[in-house]
């Protein structure tokens, strides 16, 4: 009796562990490894010639330098602008704060193709800021990267800040510290883990940026990621792509390690107030409020509104002409058909990502007794984050060269696209689910068990209801990510069945005002869809980090 029950338990755990690992190995590790391996083998066998050629090429180091410089500058700017934003949005209270928080959160989930198109429409010679001459520049790329990651900093730092116990700084004040001294000696050190963790994450996102750099950087500015794309699709130089993938892996691994170190420090660091602490916006907050207002209007709203405004401009004046053209097929699928295809793909990708994400998060939220078990979980945690930084381009191209023969002859299968998108979305799903699962007090589960609830009932009556809100957020992230995924999809989508981002990129790459107009209109459609999905997810998601 006991024996059989134990076997049942082991079996369940085995499935929960094996399914996501197997999925990740087949659809992530293998394709990426195969692509990288190609770089090290030529007709005569193992060879470092191709790779070493790349490693000594000035172009490679120029690209690596650009990648690091763009990411570093964008990270510093995002942090410097994000800290006042975190203060205003999470530590002060004013009418419209909820709406402003939602607005600030939008850029992070906007598809990178949309952001690229929006900034291009803003900075291009004929655009509102065309006189600055910033089209295809370092500044343009950095601005777009800050646009993306501002909310990462605001949210990460803000949530911690809103829970810092005010009495600690009050104690410092009562001991004779000035406001400035309190900031440097109490508040900033307390926020440091969140700032460090947001920085690492922002750096990671910036260093692996693809579509936005591809669209804004032109031929002069790139990242390792765009270079991989260029080498594989334009020059068919696999050794170069492989070498670059390895470089990318090094950068990503370093950022992930840094993020992991700061995260574990953050989790053990502070005693926090039970509920968020804020105060009415007051005169002394003016500098922070002004900085935040400038960022929100200048950096966030302007590109988005320009995109909408310019999508309405047609040869015949202001109107919906560009949108009308979205229905025109012209011998290939229309943009609306691509949109429908994108939605179907996203539904499937979300289902896959959520199924795997729930398994992974549940596994990672366990608290093993043994040191070895805890160490294993930490490694697993890091491993499931890898797709966050590994070049989506590498994944997409890797799919093409590995999944084209038995046992996985999926080359011509549409299923590859949602699978690739699920891989890309998985880290975000896990990151949304894991905190809510980890926040469940184990005493609640113990209390339930001692009241006679079997493990399955504990999961159904305690874990699921308490993690439900995180689940809504995770679903939103998964859907939005796969809806906007471009790097991997661009390799896998067949011309007769494109997705919306692929179609937008095709349109913007072609000459002619009509194509540009359609690209802008399609980008607005994609942005609206994404925003709608996230709005629903936010509605279902945690209002505040609820305390249980």
């Amino acid at each position: 009796m006991t024996l059989r029950r134990d076997h049942g338990r082991t079996w369940v755990w085995a499935v929960i562990a094996v399914v996501p690992v197997a999925f990740l190995v087949i659809f992530f590790v293998w394709p990426v490894a195969a692509l990288v391996a190609r770089g090290f083998f030529d007709a005569s066998g193992f060879s470092l010639v191709g790779v070493s050629e790349v490693m000594v090429a000035p172009r490679t180091w120029r690209i690596v330098g650009q990648t690091l410089a763009q990411a570093a500058v964008a990270t510093v700017l995002a942090v410097l602008l994000g800290i006042p934003g975190a203060y205003v949005l999470y530590r002060t209270r004013f009418p419209g704060r909820t709406a402003l928080r939602a607005l600030v959160a939008v850029p992070f989930v906007l598809p990178s193709v949309v952001v690229g198109v929006a900034f291009r429409s803003l900075l291009t010679e004929s655009g509102p800021l065309g006189f600055l001459g910033l089209g295809e520049s370092f500044a343009a790329v950095v601005a777009a990267l800050v646009f993306f990651n501002y909310s990462v900093v605001v949210r990460t730092v803000g949530v911690l800040w809103s829970r810092l116990d005010r009495r600690v700084s009050e104690a410092a004040r009562s001991l004779g510290a000035s406001r400035v001294r309190v900031w440097w000696t109490v508040t900033l050190p307390a926020l440091a883990p969140a700032i460090a963790s947001a920085s690492a994450l922002t750096f990671l996102f910036c260093a692996s940026a693809f579509a936005v750099v591809l669209i804004l950087g032109g031929s002069g500015w790139g990242t390792i990621e765009t270079e991989i794309w260029y080498q594989t699709t334009q020059l068919l130089d696999l050794p170069a792509a492989a070498a670059l993938s390895v470089l990318q892996l090094v950068v990503v691994a370093a950022a992930l390690v840094a993020a992991d170190l700061t995260r574990s420090r953050q989790e053990r660091a502070l005693t926090l107030a039970g509920s968020p602490v804020d105060h009415r916006l007051r005169r002394g907050d003016a500098p922070a409020a002004v900085v935040t207002a400038v960022v929100v209007v200048g950096l966030l709203l302007t590109p988005m509104l320009t995109l909408v405004w310019r999508s309405l401009q047609t040869a015949g004046g202001i109107g919906l002409g560009n949108y009308a053209l979205l229905a025109v097929g012209d011998g290939r699928p229309s943009v609306w058909e691509a949109t429908a295809n994108s939605l179907v793909t996203a539904v499937v990708a979300t289902a896959i990502a959520l199924t795997l994400g729930v398994m992974v998060s549940y596994l990672l939220s366990r608290r093993p007794r043994s040191v070895a078990g805890r160490r294993l979980l930490r490694w697993a945690d890091a491993a499931f984050m890898l797709p966050l930084g590994i070049s989506a381009v590498t994944v997409g191209f890797g799919f093409l060269i590995t999944l084209n023969r038995p046992p996985f002859d999926l080359r011509s299968s549409w299923a590859l696209i949602p699978i690739a998108q699920a891989i890309v979305a998985l880290p975000l799903v896990v990151r949304s689910l894991l905190p809510t699962l980890r926040a469940i007090n184990p005493r609640l589960q113990e209390a339930a068990a001692s009241l006679g609830a079997a493990p399955a009932r504990v999961v159904a009556t305690i874990d699921v209801p308490l993690a439900w809100r995180g689940f809504g957020l995770a679903a939103g992230f998964a859907f939005a990510t796969s809806l906007g995924e471009f790097g991997a999809t661009t390799f896998l989508a067949r011309p007769d069945r494109p997705t919306l981002p692929v179609e937008i990129f095709r349109l913007i790459s072609r000459p002619g005002a009509e194509n540009l107009g359609m690209a802008l209109a399609a980008a607005v459609v994609l942005a609206a869809l994404t925003a709608a999905v996230m709005a629903v997810a936010e509605y279902l998601g945690p209002k505040e980090a609820t305390s249980w």
Partner: protein
């Protein structure tokens, strides 16, 4: 046949730390056993081990003679009530109390929930959200929730420690009455001996993972097994025979004389000692005096009085106990 709970030579370890060290304990059906000890004494670990929440390094836990090693937490029928209640935040009061009653029909369940809430003095609270409860109410709900499971053993882990003193004194009465009214077998873990003495048939004292003594409250108080138990119960200082005789001790003296809170009394027939401090308490003044050995002792005197420089004191046999002389004295703190 043995009945009730039998704990035999249980060892619980966290890494290198031995939290519970070879503890054996029996709880008879219907009996309330309190386990007291300072924080870190291992009493909560013992409770968790009995519940099946901590693995045993060695030893056994059994019920009615059946070893529970292979029986999982949810099949033991041992309900745990935690310090801060651990009510389920997504369920209301009724949902929490009815958690263990999910096999009953709706009407029957509601009836049981209402009965249990009435039992703990929270009639009509079933529909309230748990966020609307005060700390004391939350603990009553937690008690009702545990009793709903009709556990063969109810285990309470410092159930009142998070509450303030006045509330604690009242709630311990509620707990005691409820546990007796339902004839529940209980294991009650606390650091508060007043609580333990109020509720328990027998009290077990733990320190450093070891079980020092198990006895009925009066017996425990009259005859603490050793100086450690006596010190934990509030005895002190501990006088050797010669000193005790100076202060009028006439009883047996095969060890140390443990002076209880009422063990040293003021009296004209006593020995004069210097008074070092005075504290005013509830309707009494406590004088801190210095014994000839240099040790400090306390004398309670009714009413509020001015601190004299000298006071005549003697030992009261009823307020003292005799404990064996320990081999090493310097580890003991009063």
């Amino acid at each position: 046949m043995v009945s009730g709970l039998q704990v035999r030579d249980v060892v619980v370890r966290y890494g290198d730390l031995v939290a519970v060290d070879q503890v054996s304990l029996d709880v008879a059906p219907g009996e309330v056993m309190a386990v007291i000890g300072a924080s870190g004494s291992g009493k909560s670990s013992l409770l968790r081990a009995v519940a099946g929440l901590e693995p045993l390094v060695s030893g056994s836990v059994s019920w009615d003679g059946v070893d529970l090693a292979a029986v999982e937490v949810h099949r033991r029928g041992f309900a745990v009530m935690f310090q801060d209640g651990q009510l389920f935040p997504h369920l209301n009061v009724g949902g929490n109390v009815g958690y263990a009653l999910h096999r009953l029909g709706r009407a029957e369940r509601q009836q049981r929930v209402n009965d249990l809430l009435a039992l703990v003095g929270l009639d009509g609270y079933a529909r309230r959200p748990i966020t609307a409860l005060s700390g004391g109410q939350a603990q009553r709900v937690a008690l009702a929730r545990s009793l709903a499971a009709e556990p063969r053993l109810l285990m309470l882990d410092e159930p009142l420690s998070a509450l303030d003193t006045g509330l604690r004194t009242r709630l311990v009465e509620v707990l005691a009455e409820t546990v007796r009214a339902t004839n529940t077998t209980a294991l009650y873990v606390t650091h508060d001996q007043d609580e333990a003495f109020t509720i328990a048939d027998r009290v077990a004292v733990m320190a450093s993972g070891r079980l020092l003594q198990v006895d009925a409250p009066a017996e425990l108080w009259r005859r603490p097994a050793d100086i450690e138990v006596a010190a934990f119960l509030g005895y002190g200082p501990f006088l050797d025979e010669g000193l005790a005789r100076q202060f009028g001790w006439t009883g047996a003296a095969n060890g140390l004389i443990a002076v209880g809170p009422d063990g040293l009394i003021a009296g004209t027939d006593g020995v004069e000692v210097p008074v070092r401090a005075a504290t005013v308490g509830r309707g009494e003044t406590v004088f801190e005096v210095e014994l000839p050995s240099g040790e400090r002792a306390w004398v309670r005197s009714p009413g509020v009085s001015r601190r004299p420089d000298l006071l005549r004191v003697r030992l009261s046999p009823d307020g003292c106990a005799v404990v064996p002389k320990p081999v090493v004295l310097d580890t003991v703190q009063g």
